[in-house]
């Protein structure tokens, strides 16, 4: 007869779970509140979401101090793994979410924000991402990934436009395929090693000296395919431009940041032990992915006529850029990736918010995309402030010193150089140069062309409200004064990454 299991509460280490539970509880609370009293103003939900995210932030701060004292924490039958990577990435996720959610408080009314479900799903999604980064169990990664993705599909569809449904269906279908890839890949690793925990898999594989290299490579191929989808690496990127175009600018900006950092963390956990075990093929494949993604996405961005699609391709290119860090796999590179993403968060937050403030309810006659370049032509004449701020974000994206992303690029390239990837560093520099061209194109439109249509003047900024102004202000300050924060940030992130062994 089996003895009943006895689990003491301390051994569960529920504290590791707290940061994820908080948004879940928040989401449930929002749903329940809505059940008993509907038609509450959306600003309350926004405030509630921010409140829960802030609590989440405090819980994370608690975890981080615990980490600094005791090192990596395990919890819930060793399924939860709270190490430096998990903490830093959760900070990025939560802070980015806090900055994005006020974008719901627009001056125009939008369909989706009147539903409390929007905010509930948003919080569920955050919890999903947090689960994804705070574990090395493939099951939990899968559950987190799908929780987040399913919520995200719904959030996109809630924008309630022709294009957003199309975007949601496309994203959903491709996401389902990627989920299939992921589960099949996990199955192969399970078959080869008998475990679904990444560190166990690593131990077993290293112990038997990668004797089943063929199977390992097949599994790697599947897992890589699924994460390449999430990270929008070419040729798995095809969803990105359409989904960005179809969803609201705020959502698109969010998508360019948070899901990707979660995917980067998992990719780091999974691919780096393979690379460090000396599998040159893994490295070679990733190398090709990085180079192709950076270059091809840049070339496509050049020929876009819509600013949002251009930013979509630019985000793909940036993802390729950051993926280089995963491939290099040194502590310096991983630190640089996280720093890059922090800076990218501010810049992209700003540039997508600038698109968001110029969102129209209805398109003008003769207009066939929401944010065409023409819309911004001669912006400097009607609102020089908006044009300058937009130009600031574009310059930062292009990597012009001393704005935020310059530092990210700088550290990433220098990490590549220190690890001996000189050619890669050159390719990265070259790509930054190409990228400069299409960012500049928007600046040229704003500053040097005459307005195409005077009706656009009214449109730009029509969606502006105090909270949007605040967010754009934060983004602008973050972008301009990044150089002050870079060094301390780097110290902090470097400490976290180093102490968790990456």
């Amino acid at each position: 007869m089996l003895e009943p299991v006895n689990v003491s509460l301390e051994s569960l280490n529920l504290m590791t779970l707290a940061p994820m539970l908080i948004p879940i509880v928040g989401a449930l609370l929002i749903l329940v509140v809505d059940l008993f009293k509907s038609n509450i103003d959306k600003s309350l939900y926004v405030m509630l979401s921010i409140l829960f995210l802030f609590t989440d932030f405090m819980a994370l701060a608690g975890s981080s101090s615990a980490f600094m004292q005791n090192g990596t924490l395990l919890g819930l039958f060793d399924v939860m793994l709270v190490d430096g990577l998990a903490i830093v990435s959760q900070f990025i996720i939560v802070v980015a979410s806090m900055l994005f959610i006020p974008l719901a408080l627009t001056s125009k009314r939008f369909h989706e924000f009147s539903y409390p479900e929007f905010f509930a799903l948003f919080l569920f999604m955050i919890a999903g991402f947090q689960f994804m980064v705070a574990t090395d169990n493939l099951i939990l990664i899968f559950v987190g990934l799908e929780t987040a993705s399913l919520s995200l599909y719904t959030l996109i569809a809630m924008h309630n436009r022709e294009k957003s449904f199309e975007a949601a269906v496309k994203y959903f279908t491709m996401g389902a395929l990627a989920a299939g890839f992921y589960s099949f890949g996990s199955m192969i690793f399970y078959a080869v090693t008998g475990s679904v925990e990444i560190n166990q898999i690593a131990t077993v594989l290293v112990a038997n000296g990668f004797s089943d290299i063929g199977f390992v490579m097949v599994g790697f191929a599947f897992i890589l395919a699924s994460f390449a989808f999430k990270l929008s690496l070419v040729p798995f990127h095809t969803w990105a431009p359409d989904v960005y175009e179809g969803s609201s600018a705020a959502m698109a900006g969010y998508m360019s940041i948070v899901p990707k950092i979660a995917a980067f963390i998992v990719a780091m956990r999974f691919f780096e032990f393979l690379i460090h075990s000396g599998l040159v093929w893994v490295e070679a494949i990733l190398y090709v992915f990085v180079v192709v993604t950076m270059t091809a996405a840049n070339l496509w961005a050049l020929v876009q006529t819509d600013v949002k699609r251009m930013l979509a391709y630019s985000s793909i290119s940036h993802a390729g850029f950051a993926m280089a860090a995963v491939m290099i796999g040194t502590t310096q590179a991983n630190t640089a990736l996280l720093l890059y993403w922090v800076l990218f968060t501010f810049t992209n937050l700003g540039s997508f918010s600038m698109l968001w403030i110029s969102r129209q309810k209805k398109m003008l006659p003769g207009q066939n995309s929401d944010h065409s370049y023409e819309k911004f032509a001669g912006l400097v004449q009607s609102s020089p402030m908006a044009a300058t701020i937009m130009a600031l974000f574009m310059l930062s994206l292009a990597g012009v010193p001393p704005f935020a992303l310059f530092w990210g690029k700088m550290y990433l390239i220098s990490a590549a150089v220190t690890s001996g990837y000189t050619v890669l560093a050159l390719i990265m520099a070259l790509n930054s140069a190409i990228a400069g061209y299409y960012y500049l194109k928007l600046i040229v439109y704003m500053f040097m062309k005459d307005p195409v249509d005077s009706r656009y003047e009214k449109v730009i900024g029509s969606n502006l409200s105090l909270s949007l102004k605040t967010i754009i202000g934060i983004a602008a300050v973050g972008t301009i004064f990044a150089f002050i924060a870079v060094d301390p940030l780097l110290q902090a992130i470097g400490g976290f990454v180093y102490n968790s062994g990456y």
Binding site: L2, E3, P4, V5, L28, L31, V32, L35
Partner: protein, 129 residues
């Protein structure tokens, strides 16, 4: 003891069955492929419609109410959760109080979802929101 399959009196019938099945499948496929290859490809829109002349074809109204799908979805979602309860029920004694508490939490979560669906009117046939 040796089983010789061929010794079975019905073996002939089985072979015949298999052959017939194979031939049938093969003919179908070949016919399909041949017709696809040989047919004149005229994909004019009118030609593809049901009647080339006469009244315009009206789409069949969707015979199933959307409510039906909603019910199906809800059923699916709640039904699938059984897979988590079943193993728990099997090992109920071994899992003890800890398992019990966990399952109760799980069911509470489900219940919130259920109440939500209910309150939203998803369970009422004629009251679609």
């Amino acid at each position: 003891m040796e089983h010789i399959i061929t010794a079975n009196p019905y073996f002939g019938v089985f072979v015949l069955f298999v052959l017939t099945f194979g031939a049938f499948t093969a003919t179908t496929i070949i016919a399909r492929l041949a017709s696809r290859a040989l047919a004149a490809k005229d994909t004019e829109k009118i030609k593809l419609s049901v009647y080339e002349c006469g009244p315009e074809v009206t789409k069949q109204p969707n015979r199933l109410s959307p409510q039906f799908y909603l019910f199906a979805l809800l059923f699916l979602l709640f039904d699938v959760e059984i897979v988590f309860m079943f193993p728990w029920a099997v090992d109920f004694k071994v899992l003890g109080w800890f398992g019990f508490t966990e399952m109760i939490l799980f069911i509470i979560l489900l219940a919130i979802g259920f109440v939500y669906a209910w309150k939203k009117g998803a369970l009422e046939w004629h009251n679609i929101k």
